[in-house]
Chain length 376, copies 2
């Protein structure tokens, strides 16, 4: 039996949203779910206990970064990523593909794999589909990803098509390499840029390979949101009902709602933690840049409707002071708040699916939060 | 009645150590006690809840820093420092004197007070004894300090003597300025450099002013430790038994033991939190620089005899990884550990006073930890 399984609880009336449970070796996760990102084996500024208190049941970590530092062999020697970072709930790792293509320098893409230089020290590395799986096997996450090429936007159809073909061949090699499917589940990744024919081909080929879950990659990379939603609409319908669907790298509040409406089960994004460290927070009334001078004497909490630890105990004035004084607690409090905001939003989305009123929740959210005000 | 009172529980046999309780408007504190430093209204890298979990019952905050940023008026408007920073246990503030003399530029010392330039933006400021008390009244700590001049080391006897005379006159003005003695207790500060006659004169004059507690300032500023211990020996005997004694700015493990042996009740120092952020930790076997390459694959906890959150859950290899990757959790874990180490050391010191074997504890500590290995 595969390490993870997806249990479909309810399909929404009125949209494609669905309620489910993702069973993993490290716990059961209610879906749709937002996964906080712990790039370097830590969700920035947070402790595992704080993540649990917020209600996080699964986090993501990045293979490229852990391969570079501290190295997957040390993680393996430590008893795997769960033990290394003291997180006993579920973990998903990406394949490293996205970072190889976006972060590293001087990459050379061949059928065999990709040669590239480290963004840290310029050292030369080679990652193949086999290597990406071996690294992820050493890390030991519950859910792992095929090695793929994430296309830039915009891109020519010709290149997108040949890249997709290679990504499909790489997926076959990943599947062949990954042996211990009872410990870790390997997801296939749908690519194909913003081209409908390629997305369809990608979905068809990946589904034929019968993965325990499917990721939708290559979105939220600069394209207008209506295009992203179109691609989602084409793609999700081609995926089987009995497998989880993971929209990679997407995590702004509006996209979480829109993604859930289209039948996505899993999301991840560095957005909430990254903007938090810059002093920007989500609130029920839209974004708020708490480090701005206008909040210097504002004794209200960041979000007057929020019951997170930061909003229960601290004023905007205090948190702004922490940022101006470069105090670590500032980033801790805004990070707690932003993750709380998204985790609560997912709870509301799940409740709305139960109640068959997710579209109403979207309208109310936009009316209050503002449409697209989360763009950074 | 004064805001705070000192209850002497037991005097040690064999040395001058004493066990006591410090009663404050925000709780009772077992002494001798180490006070973590929250310079800018936050103990760096820590949350108030974590401090409480460690057993901290009193922290120190710095008047100079809070006056500069965010300003004492905002703190007052927020309901005082306790509310502003969400700390409902006791707080002590210094007078700002130490920072005015050590941090600021172009200071001009006159009888009336000190003119100086901000270390942040170069803006010009004037602090008098009256102003130092007014700022501390606005901050609202349980224990506040007289404005004094902290002499450098070494210094000529002539200058030390005239400086001390001014510090004594300033103490009189501070006492006259501070009205609400039931809300905040004002401590007098013993100065006088490393000169026995001056320390004696200082102690005599301060005791004559009948403060609810006495601070010993101007130590641990570069002088050899035997000299510091000599000054302590001369000074503490001149202080009354029924008032608490606070040795300012001292917090290395050996100095905590030596200070307690000489009858000191309260200590503070940035050392544990500052070295933590540089990747250095106290351990039962002496200091350990966890960010060093030799710990890259060391799966043991930082201190194999420690039961703090960091040592229960994380390896040296993981914490070193966090430091190399510049992750906030690294500084959090080392800070938790170092504060835990000192708070536990104070518990051991109090137990040893009860058991009349503090000198034995000192010998055992030096044998295992190493003498003076805490010098940074």
């Amino acid at each position: 039996m595969d390490a993870i399984s997806y249990e479909l609880i309810k399909k929404s009336n009125g949209c494609d949203a669905r309620l489910g449970k993702l069973h993993t070796p490290h716990g059961v996760i209610d879906t749709p779910v937002f996964m906080p990102v712990g790039t370097q084996a830590t969700v920035k500024a947070m402790s595992p206990d704080e993540l649990k208190d917020l209600g996080a049941h699964i986090i993501l970590s990045n293979t490229y970064h852990l391969y570079m530092r501290p190295g997957e062999k040390l993680v393996k020697k430590s008893g795997g990523l769960h033990k290394f970072m003291n997180w006993d709930r579920a973990i998903l790792t990406d394949s490293g593909g996205f970072q190889v293509f976006s972060l590293s320098n001087l990459r050379d893409i061949k059928e065999e794999g990709v040669t590239f230089k480290s963004h840290i020290d310029g050292s030369k590395h080679f990652i193949s589909p086999e290597k990406a799986i071996e690294i992820q096997n050493d890390l030991g996450a519950d859910i792992i990803m095929c090695f793929d090429e994430c296309l830039p936007y915009p891109v020519e159809h010709d290149y997108a098509s040949s890249s997709l073909n290679r990504t499909i061949r790489w997926a076959v090699r990943c599947k062949e390499t990954h042996k211990d499917t009872e410990r870790q589940s390997l997801f296939g990744i749908i690519q194909g840029g913003m081209f409908k024919d390629l997305r369809e081909r990608s979905a068809k080929e990946m589904v034929a390979l019968d993965f325990p879950g499917y990721s939708i990659g290559g979105l939220s990379i600069g394209e207008p949101k209506p295009i992203m939603y179109d691609v989602l609409d084409w793609t999700v319908h081609l995926l089987p009902d009995n497998k989880p669907r993971y929209l990679m790298g997407v995590g702004s509040p509006d996209c979480l709602i829109e993604g859930a409406i289209r039948g996505v089960d899993m999301f991840d994004c560095v957005l909430p933690t990254r903007i938090a460290r810059n002093g920007t927070v989500f609130t029920s009334q839209g974004k708020l840049v708490v480090r701005n001078a206008e909040y210097a004497e504002d004794l209200r909490p960041m979000d007057t409707e929020c019951d997170c630890y930061a909003c229960r105990n601290y004023s905007r004035a205090y948190i702004r002071h922490l940022f101006k004084a470069k105090e670590i607690l500032g980033a801790r409090l805004t990070t707690i708040h932003n993750l709380h905001f998204l985790i609560k939003l997912m709870e509301k989305i799940r409740q709305a699916i139960k109640d068959d009123n997710l579209l109403k929740l979207r309208d109310e959210f936009y009316a209050k939060y503002g449409y697209n005000r989360d763009e950074i």
